[in-house]
């Protein structure tokens, strides 16, 4: 893991799942359209409406939940703002990074910190390990 285990992507699964979602929603939408062909009036799903002058209890719960979420976010943003008061500028972080890079030996660089190890060139030598294969 140290020194750079690779990381890969699974873009195809991500896209495949999106396509599945798209296709399933198309199937869902096509049902009312099919029913319109057999009748003269387009089919409409009934919409729940709150009678005028009455408060919608579901709406109130939604409002409260949204308010709680926003208050939580406000708290987090305030904390972040406070934490930023004492942060160093990006130039100091850049300097630290460059200092780190320049103090490390790197087998893949033409100019590097020492010591240079003979082991680094093993990839261009004949392997000395016995050839053991599972197949």
């Amino acid at each position: 893991m140290e020194g750079g285990s690779g990381s890969g992507s699974g873009g195809s699964r991500k896209r495949a799942s999106n396509q599945n979602v798209a296709s399933s929603s198309q199937v869902y939408r096509s049902a009312p359209e099919a029913s319109t062909t057999s009748s003269t009036k387009p089919y409409q799903l009934p919409e729940p409406r709150t009678p005028p002058g009455r408060r919608n209890p579901v709406g109130r719960h939604r409002l409260r939940s949204e308010l709680n979420r926003l208050n939580q976010e406000i708290q987090l943003l305030k904390e972040e703002l406070k934490a930023m008061e004492n942060l160093p500028p990006a130039s100091r972080t850049s300097r630290e990074l460059i200092e780190f890079i320049e103090t490390c030996a790197d087998p893949l660089l033409p100019i590097t910190r020492g010591p240079i190890m003979a082991e680094w060139d093993k990839w261009f030598r004949q392997p000395t390990e016995p050839n053991r294969c599972c197949w």
Binding site: S5, G6, G8, K14, C104, D106, P110, R113, W120
Partner: protein
Amino acid sequence: MSANGVNEGDLLQAAKAEVIHLRDRLQQRRNELQDTDVATYARRNDRHAIRYAREDFRPCRTLRGHTGKIYSLDWSYRNKNRIVSASQDGRLIVWNALTSQKTHAIKLTCSWVMTCAFSPDGHSVACGGLDNNCSIFGLNSHPEPDGNLPVLRVLYGHRGYLSCCRYVPDEAHIITSSGDRTCRLWDGETFNLVATFGGDATSGHAADVMSVSISTSNQKLFVSGSCDKTARLWDTRVASRPQHTYYGHRGDINAVQFLPDGLRFGTGSDDGTCKLFDTRTGHLLQTYEDPNPGRSCVTSLAFSHSGRILFAGYENQRCYLWDAMLAEVLFDIGNNHSNRISCLGVASDGSALCTGSWDSSLKIWAFSGTRQIAGPV
């Protein structure tokens, strides 16, 4: 109307306005602190680009044996020449990269594998994919009569595909990320679930998590990259919320990788760029944007041993070696793979790079030029 007579709708509007105001102040403060980027700072302080001759970086091995697209690879930490690779031919193959020989070929029950990882002691490998599970195989286990290695353990719990799994190097733990928008920490000895990170709309990722990377300086910290275009830093002791959220990408983040210093990390995205972030300050230190037209998605990412080279694999079969300090392309590996580069990784001793591709092959790359010792800094 609420109990104290204040209209809830008004409170909501006020809270929304407050959030916008605070976000603006944060952005303003960030802009004040963002006085430079790494490349500008390095040039201003007389740092020069690395020069690679054409033959300095070349492929030295091609590992053939998979018959499907390769999705993931991982170098062993203990045995520096070993690699495990996962392919959609339904096999994990453990390679001795030096001799190009296979030491294990493990047939999987679910062939739709997306990730694999070597344990720090080199005795087991983990993998997972569309089965939503993380399966662990002991490399020293007795094979079954048909020659296959039996599954040692299966970690159940994710409700979406497993996109990435990584062992915590010095601890007996495994971290997994998933399409269910969460990351999970598992005990590597009892194989029990220890903690779940995210899954809550207010604090976790808002879309599939694609990749995780563990800090080498503090192994309680790991970073996750997601299709919600953000990366998040998590402390394994505090599962309830991320320590920090990093913004800047305009597309899904496919890969995250810590620098060897364990304090900064890189991200690769569908927007075609790689970015470098500082974990402690949250500063975006550098953006690496392909100068060529027809920019392609970044699929994978790794750093050389010093962090000077950023290796980025692209959907268009390219792999660039970026000078991470000066944000210039040092080297382009050209058309050595005939399909998308899906994964890459640097050997634990830093001496080689391995690229894995949908063309079913893995290639080992190393520096073949003459090295010079750098003068005092």
